[in-house]
Symmetry: C2
Subunit: 196 residues, 2 copies
Amino acid sequence: MTTAKRDTYTPETLLSVAVQVFNDRGYDGTSMEHLSKAAGISKSSIYHHVAGKEELLRRAVSRALDGLFGILDEEHARGGHAAERLEYVVRRMVEVLIGDLPYVTLLLRVRGNTDTERWALERRRDFDHQVAELLRAAAADGDVRRDVEGRLATRLVFGMINSIVEWYRPDGRGMSEREVADAVVQLVFGGLRKDA
Amino acid sequence: MTTAKRDTYTPETLLSVAVQVFNDRGYDGTSMEHLSKAAGISKSSIYHHVAGKEELLRRAVSRALDGLFGILDEEHARGGHAAERLEYVVRRMVEVLIGDLPYVTLLLRVRGNTDTERWALERRRDFDHQVAELLRAAAADGDVRRDVEGRLATRLVFGMINSIVEWYRPDGRGMSEREVADAVVQLVFGGLRKDA
DNA sequence: GTCTATATTACGATAGAC
DNA sequence: GTCTATCGTAATATAGAC
């Protein structure tokens, strides 16, 4: 056994506090003073755990990116028909979004004012392109409509999925991850219109 | 006739510069120094035209909100079957988003750190609720699927529409407003799946 | 209307005691 | 690991000349 859980901060526990504040106020709208108040320790104590504000951002977006890229390595995302792989990836994106909600939220709001932010934006683009490639393959198979151009469709679908971070809150009796994922898959593939 | 167009700033022309910078760097990430560099005048000259940074924000989001609420007053949004009114509103939202792109972009990124931001968030919620009501009516008419809960569907559809500000750029030979609106209507109502 | 100069406050980060 | 005190910089905004 390790020693009993301590009352003090680690970079990891401090991160979870910081990410909440970043998401509430925006990264640029958050000062070290805000963070210290939220964490209940002084500003200088924060610097004992992390090098500064930007390191907290880097750790947070790294975690989000690892979650997303992890999807593409999963078995169901790598084998089978493109359309099925696409549906699997869409569903898993919703699950990762919700599972790592605060981290992915922060990632999706990054602007590009610092090196860390520009790096995050670049990796996000990589991920987007890989999913766009899946959609292109599904269209080539004739499994998805071709009257909407591929890049455009990808962007709109990503927009729908990513927007979940703007309202989903894991409030006890709220919606489950599964319910949201089902709804997204229904709407993305079937649309609002009633089935014949 | 009025006097010839002058070379100097008005609150309106200054606003168009400021909004661009706000969207590029984020509102909180933009200093008066950034604005003065972008406008080509000194910081203090900016204060001759507007009371401060927050006034620029207020003017910008007001314009965006006026555009959106204007939709709900249009004839086609007020008469006819709910499903048709809903489709009309969805299409017009895309058009207003693109027509007032920088202003709506800024509105959609507001966090709530100042009174102005909290006021903007409140009005946005009002608008969202009115569109959600339309969707509810269309569902009651049996014109849209009922296996996806109304609030959830509204949020996802808004997410898709609003995400347009993250990538649409009116670059000369890019997509037209009409093409984007068509694609959104196709996906929102019909989904990705190929029609039978 | 625009400028330079400056007041004042807030910020990120460090020094050094305990 | 946490604190108080503080440094140096950058922020919003104002004063007053031209």
